[in-house]
C-alpha cells in the first residue's frame, strides 16, 4: 500500500525515478531542478538505484546523452529548468523524431532576461512545438504519480516519444508535502520493463538520425505529429491502469465546480490549488465560478477541453508566459483557436500573471473572474498586477 511520508517534492520525483528502475540519468544541475538530480546521484552512489549517472558538462550534452542511451535501449531520465532547457533546445527537437523515449522533469522557471530563478512557464512554452508529450502536475503527489505515468506513456510501443513532466519551480519543487510513496511491487505491476521499439544493436545495425531532404522532411515531421496525436489514447489507458493499481484517477483535463459555472478559469500547474480556494470563496458569495485545469498540454486534449467548457459563458484563460508582440499567451491562443473551430461561443479572455515568481493570490483569481464576466471586450491579454 506504500507509505505516506513528509518529503520534498523534488526528492519524491527522484524516488519515482528510482522506483521506475531507471537505467541512465544524464543531467546538469540548475536551480530549481537541482534537488532532483542531486538526490538521484546520492541514490546511485549509495547503491539504491542501479543506474549509470552521467555528470555531463552542459544540458546540451545531457539531452544528447539521453537520446543516445534511449536509442541503446536504456530507460532514461533527466531534469532541467529555464536556461538549461534553452540550452537543450537543439536536442529537444531531435528526440521526438528519433522516437527516443526520455523522461524529462522540468521544474518550471522563468527564462532570462532579466535573469530570474523563480517560477513561471516560459521555459516549457519555448519547446511547445517540439513534439514532446507534456504533462503538468499541480501538487507533490501528482508530481510523483505523473513521473511514473510518464515512463508508462512514453515507452509504450505505440508511442515511443519523450515526455516532459512539469512541476512549478520552488512553489512546488521545493515544498515538503505528505506524499504516498508506492511499494516497489505496485510500481512493477504498473510499469513493465522498457522494451524499446527501436534499438541500436550491433547484430542488427541501423542508422538513427538521418538527413531529411526536401522530398521527405515534411513526411518525417508529419509521422511524428500522427504519433503524438494518437498518444492521447495511450495517456488515457495509462491513467486507467494507474487508477487500477494505485487507486488515484487522473484525467487529461481536470475540473472543479465547473458543472453550473458561468465563468470558468483555465489553469495549468500548482496555481490551480490557489484557484480552487478562491473559487470556494467566490461560491460562498453566490458567484457561479469553476475551474478547468489542463493536465495534458501536448498533445492538446481538444475534445476533453471543449467538453469541460461546453456550458460556460465566460472562459478566463490564465497564462504564466508572455508572448511578446502577440494578442494572447500560448494557452490563450490554444483555447481561442480551438474554440473558434467548435460551435461553442463563450467570451474568452486571457490573463497573464505570476511571471518570474510573482505570487499568484486568491485575489488575483477574483479579479480575473470579475474581469471575465464584465462583458467588456478584451482585444489582447491583460497583464494582471503589473505596476505602471
Amino acid at each position: 500500500m506504500g507509505k505516506r511520508i513528509g518529503i520534498e517534492v523534488s526528492l519524491a520525483v527522484a524516488e519515482a525515478v528510482k522506483l521506475a528502475d531507471t537505467d541512465v540519468v544524464a543531467a546538469y544541475p540548475i536551480t530549481p531542478q537541482t534537488h532532483i538530480v542531486e538526490h538521484l546521484s546520492e541514490l546511485v552512489a549509495d547503491g539504491e538505484l542501479n543506474a549509470a549517472y552521467i555528470p555531463v558538462e552542459s544540458e546540451h550534452s545531457a539531452m544528447s546523452s539521453c537520446i543516445g542511451s534511449s536509442a541503446a535501449g536504456a530507460r532514461t531520465f533527466t531534469a532541467t529548468s529555464s536556461q538549461g532547457l534553452a540550452l537543450m533546445n537543439e536536442m529537444i527537437y531531435i528526440a521526438p523524431v528519433l522516437r527516443t523515449p526520455i523522461i524529462l522533469a522540468i521544474a518550471n522557471r522563468a527564462l532570462s532576461a532579466p535573469i530570474n530563478i523563480w517560477n513561471d512557464h516560459s521555459d516549457i512554452m519555448s519547446v511547445r512545438d517540439a513534439g514532446w508529450i507534456a504533462l503538468f502536475a499541480d501538487n507533490g503527489q501528482e508530481a510523483l504519480d505523473m513521473t511514473l505515468a510518464s515512463y508508462r506513456i512514453g515507452e509504450d510501443p505505440a508511442v515511443s516519444l519523450p515526455v516532459s513532466m512539469n512541476i512549478d519551480g520552488f512553489t512546488l519543487s521545493h515544498f515538503i508535502e505528505p506524499i504516498l510513496i508506492p511499494d516497489q511491487e505496485e510500481v512493477d505491476r504498473f510499469l513493465p520493463p522498457f522494451k524499446p521499439s527501436l534499438q541500436l544493436d550491433i547484430k542488427n545495425p541501423i542508422s538513427i538520425g538521418l538527413l531529411g531532404a526536401p522530398e521527405c522532411y515534411t513526411e518525417a515531421r508529419k509521422a511524428v505529429d500522427n504519433v503524438l496525436r494518437n498518444s492521447k489514447k495511450t495517456v488515457l489507458k495509462a491513467f486507467e491502469e494507474f487508477d487500477a493499481v494505485f487507486g488515484r484517477k487522473y484525467n487529461l483535463v481536470e475540473t472543479y465546480r465547473h458543472e453550473d459555472a458561468e465563468t470558468v478559469i483555465v489553469t495549468m500547474g500548482s496555481i490551480s490549488e490557489t484557484a480552487m480556494t478562491a473559487i470556494d470563496e467566490m461560491r460562498d458569495q453566490g458567484k457561479k465560478v469553476g475551474l478547468v485545469r489542463i493536465r495534458l498540454w501536448r498533445p492538446f486534449p481538444d475534445e476533453e477541453f471543449l467538453a469541460a467548457v461546453a456550458h460556460a459563458k465566460n472562459v478566463a484563460v490564465v497564462d504564466r508566459h508572455m508572448v511578446l508582440g502577440c494578442s494572447s499567451g500560448p494557452v490563450g491562443l490554444e483555447v481561442r483557436s480551438l474554440v473558434y473551430t467548435s460551435k461553442l461561443r463563450p467570451v474568452i479572455t486571457n490573463f497573464v500573471l505570476g511571471l518570474g515568481g510573482r505570487d499568484v493570490t486568491r485575489d488575483n483569481f477574483k479579479h480575473i473572474c470579475d474581469r471575465a464576466s464584465s462583458g467588456e471586450v478584451q482585444t489582447r491579454y491583460e497583464l494582471v498586477g503589473v505596476y505602471e
Partner: protein, 100 residues
C-alpha cells in the same frame, strides 16, 4: 491526396520508426544525378598512375586491371567534383558539361 513523384519516396505513414535506415542503403540511392559535369578520360594520355583512384572523395573509380591499364569512374555515384581532373599529372581527364 498528394502522391510522391516517385515510388522511391516514402509517405508519412510508411517511414521507418524513428526515421532510420538499414546499412548499405546508399547503394540503392544513386547520387550521380547531382552532377553537372562528368569526367572524360583521354586514354592516350593516361599513364595508369592511379591518382584519380586515390584522390576521388567518393571512391567511384574502379581499377580496370593490368590489361586495360586505366581507372573508370562509376557515373551512378560520381558527383562531378573534378578533383580527379585537377590531380591528374598528365591532364588526361577533362570535366565535360552534362547535357540535359
Amino acid at each position: 491526396m498528394n502522391k510522391p513523384a516517385s515510388d522511391a519516396l516514402a509517405k508519412a505513414g510508411d517511414l521507418p520508426l524513428g526515421f532510420t535506415a538499414k546499412p548499405g542503403s546508399t547503394v540503392a540511392f544513386k547520387t550521380g544525378d547531382w552532377r553537372s559535369v562528368r569526367p572524360v578520360l583521354d586514354r592516350e594520355k593516361c599513364i595508369y598512375c592511379g591518382f584519380c583512384y586515390y584522390y576521388c572523395p567518393d571512391g567511384v573509380y574502379q581499377d580496370m586491371g593490368k590489361d586495360e591499364k586505366y581507372y573508370k569512374a562509376d557515373l551512378d555515384y560520381c558527383k562531378g567534383c573534378g578533383i580527379c581532373a585537377h590531380e591528374c599529372p598528365k591532364k588526361a581527364i577533362e570535366m565535360t558539361l552534362e547535357e540535359v
